[in-house]
């Protein structure tokens, strides 16, 4: 029972799998798993062959990731409209990012979304995975996997449009509430300044739940069955087993779920852009949409780059400690 036996497919051996959607590129610790050569000097001569094999990927990475990153950093020190010659403004753009209440509140919204993108889906996925393990029904497990994974296959932009119809005054959500006698609370959910952000977050929950469940269910399959058997013999109940065996056994998978969904929350764009565009008012504005508007609508490339870089730094600041936490024994 090893995580290196290949049964985990593409996730095997990575501290972080490549993100499946168009989120920010995740910094992958490439050398975390590679055995370090003991006698470096001898090996060094042969290193160029390694570089040769890595070259196609390395060149692509340099051209499409590192170079844009470098130019973003350069732009962030300029006031530039994307066409005419930019003016160097030093740290002005960064000062603005940290002092403009509208930009700051958008960052706050992104952190609020973590509840819906990460906390809720991971919790529910854990419970679902644990329950399905308990039921030991292969058919049910497959069915649940398939059903829960469907939302993840649908493009988030399309899901956001479908959900915005469901959230409308006469949409499915309000129809359901009316049927169960809650007509008093019906409203245009995305049009209500207080409810729009949770409503948008719930779309994220719906999308991320399937991904987390799949990952955790495959993780649970790798936990040594004899452990469960022993727990059962000792008379442990569902919650005891869950806490003592399932949770610790899934530590790495939970780490991956949390990492990917937090990135999805902090760097969210498509769901918000397609459902509310940041409205009503500024109640659902997130940095991703803000960067788009600053960069492409207002042609303020410098400020947009600065906000994007601050966002990337924030993502790293949140993710790196979490990575450490989930890696430690």
């Amino acid at each position: 029972m090893s995580s290196l036996d290949g049964s985990t497919g593409p996730l095997q051996g990575l501290t972080l799998p490549a993100p499946p959607r168009e989120e920010q590129p995740v910094r992958v610790d490439r050398d975390a798993q590679a055995p370090r050569p003991r006698r470096r000097r001898k090996k060094r001569r042969k290193n160029w062959i390694g570089w040769l094999f890595a070259a196609p990927a390395a060149i692509m990475y340099a051209v499409f990731v590192l170079r844009p990153l470098a130019t973003s950093i350069q732009y962030s020190f300029y006031d530039w409209d994307g066409i005419t010659v930019g003016t160097f403004v030093g740290l002005d753009n960064y000062v603005r990012v940290f002092t403009d209440p509208q930009l700051l509140s958008s960052i706050g919204h992104a952190f609020f979304l973590i509840i819906f993108f990460t906390v809720i889906p991971v919790s529910i996925a854990l419970l679902v995975a644990g329950l399905i393990r308990e039921l030991r029904s292969k058919g049910l497990g497959k069915l649940a996997q398939t059903l829960l994974f469907i939302p993840y296959v649908i493009p988030a932009a399309a899901a956001a449009i479908a959900w915005s119809w469901m959230y409308a005054t006469t949409g499915a959500v309000n129809q359901f509430l009316t049927v169960i006698g809650l007509e008093a609370v019906t409203r245009a959910w995305l049009g209500d300044a207080g409810w729009a952000l949770p409503a948008v977050g719930l779309i994220g929950t719906w999308i991320n739940l399937g991904f987390c469940t799949i990952l955790l269910m495959s993780g649970i399959g790798k936990i040594d069955a004899s452990l469960y058997e022993a727990a059962k013999l000792d008379g442990a109940g569902f919650f005891q087993t869950f806490r003592a065996i399932t949770l610790p056994g899934l530590r790495q998978e939970i780490g991956v779920c949390v990492t990917i969904t937090i990135i999805a929350a902090l760097a969210s764009f498509d769901i918000v852009f397609m459902s509310t565009q940041g409205g009503p008012g500024y109640s659902t504005m997130v940095p991703g949409v803000q960067v788009y508007q600053l960069g492409f609508t207002e042609s303020r490339i410098g400020l947009a780059s600065a906000l994007a870089l601050v966002l990337s730094a924030l993502v790293l600041a949140v993710i790196l400690p979490l990575q450490k936490f989930f890696r430690e024994k």
Partner: protein
């Protein structure tokens, strides 16, 4: 479960990583210090203002490229066909991007090595100021464009400070949008409206009547900012068409943060509180609002000619159109801006032929083509023929009146690139009561000055 966890890094790896990071950071900062972005993309000034121009197209084959938004393709292709029939030696290839993409990409396309010869330009003052467009004054002299209505010419001019409305001519529109109120004739009868309201008081009376009768007075999809349409109609009345245009054209010191404007915005807030807009307006988008109006949910729908075809199809004779009522004794004024404001990029290599196309836009044939496509025509002349009594005919008549009164007002959302978002967000907050008229105008004016660097 022993091997589930990845072993922590050794200290040596961390050290190497730090070194790599340090090197990378140095390289990045070195990069940040090099030439500013955008250097070397400026066309020489001489290219932007040709002096020797010709109105003759000759017989030599000429190839032109026209760049526009995809939503305008049908109209553009019809214009191209009409033009090339007159001038068989000219071929025009249309190139289309989705409308908003075209709006955002136009500056980059104009600055590229191989720009189109005719292009729709929305952020006119930015682009003209960047030297990307041909100064058309020589063509204006040659073709006599100075006889166009002053209100239309103003939309083509930009001065050296980027202020629109005066200075050299850079564009020519193929047609215009017109904004006003669509009304449901059946419901109008119910609330006792026999003819379109002539004053704001009359309009307000109708709204109250409709509300009492359980009819939504004004349909608006404010998720996409449609309450702005009504808001600007009232602003036009409060500030006057001239002041609004000056503000949109970036005249120095122009402001919308005035007590008069606040009063107009307060009226909108009162109307929202009185339930004159649908209760879920902030959760309804423009498409949804259009559908609900067509289904007979509301008395009025503040919108423009772009919805005429759909409403004509769905409501037939049941829908009418009128210009927003003006204050007592004033001429009508309403939002009406270019459908495609065509410019000739500085880098075009067939400017004479492109200018001939621009001149063609005010001809009788082009005016009819544009009217058939649902827009109001460019220039002056006979009102193009439309099906009598149809809503399209009413729109053409309304536009003719508007041009006569010189009442074309630019959309305030278009004053700067970022203002659409600000106006729309602020008016959403106005409707749900989370901002005041004064704060709304203050926020808009601040954003406006911020974007203009004032």
């Amino acid at each position: 479960m022993t091997e589930h966890l990845v072993t922590p890094h050794s200290a040596g790896t961390v050290g190497t990583k730090l070194r790599v990071l340090g090197l990378g950071a140095c390289a990045l900062f070195a990069l940040a210090a090099c030439a500013p972005p955008g250097s070397g993309s400026q066309p020489a000034a001489s290219e932007t203002a040709p002096t020797e121009v010709s109105t003759e197209l000759g017989d030599e084959p000429v190839e032109l490229t026209l760049y526009d938004g995809a939503g305008l393709k049908a109209k553009d292709e019809a214009l191209i066909e009409a033009f090339t029939q007159k001038h068989p030696n000219v071929t025009i290839t249309g190139r289309y991007d989705p409308d908003d993409v075209q709006a955002q990409n136009a500056p980059r396309v104009l600055a590229s090595d191989d720009p189109p010869d005719i292009a729709r330009v929305i952020a006119l003052s930015d682009v003209a100021g960047d030297g990307l467009l041909t100064n058309l004054d020589a063509y204006a002299d040659a073709y006599g464009w100075d006889e166009l209505p002053e209100g239309q010419l103003a939309q083509y001019r930009v001065d050296e400070n980027g202020v629109r409305g005066e200075g050299p001519q850079y564009t020519m529109a193929d047609g215009f949008t017109v904004t006003g109120f669509y009304y449901n004739k059946e419901l109008a009868e119910k609330v006792g409206m026999t003819e379109p309201p002539q004053t704001v008081e009359e309009l307000e009376g109708l709204l109250a009547e409709a509300k009492d009768a359980g009819i939504v007075p004004i349909m608006a999809g404010n998720q996409t900012g449609q309450v702005m349409t009504t808001t600007q109609m009232l602003l036009n009345n409060a500030l006057g068409a001239g002041s609004i245009n000056e503000w949109v054209f970036h005249a120095p010191e122009a402001t919308v943060d005035t007590p008069g404007a606040a009063e107009a915005v307060a009226t909108v807030q009162d109307w929202a509180e009185a339930g004159y807009f649908p209760a879920d307006t902030n959760g309804t988008d423009a498409t949804g609002a259009l559908g609900r109006f067509a289904q007979g949910e509301a008395l009025l729908y503040a919108s423009g000619n772009w919805d005429a075809a759909a409403l004509d199809e769905q409501m037939g004779d049941d829908v009418g159109f009128f210009l927003p009522p003006a204050p007592e004794g004033n001429e009508p004024a309403t939002m009406s801006d270019p459908a495609s404001n065509f410019a000739i990029p500085a880098g075009s290599d067939a400017k004479d032929a492109a200018a001939a196309f621009l001149d063609f836009l005010r001809s009788e044939e082009a005016r009819q083509v544009v009217a058939d496509a649902g827009f109001a025509p460019s220039g002056e002349g006979e009102v193009p023929t439309t099906e009598e009594g149809s809503v399209k005919a009413q729109i053409q008549e309304a536009f003719a009146r508007l041009v006569e009164a010189d009442g074309q007002v630019q959309f305030v959302q278009n004053a700067t690139n970022g203002l659409t978002t600000t106006w729309n967000s602020e008016v959403q907050r106005l409707v749900d009561g989370s901002t005041t008229p004064e704060d709304l105008l203050g926020a808009v004016q601040t954003k406006y000055e911020d974007e203009l660097g004032r």
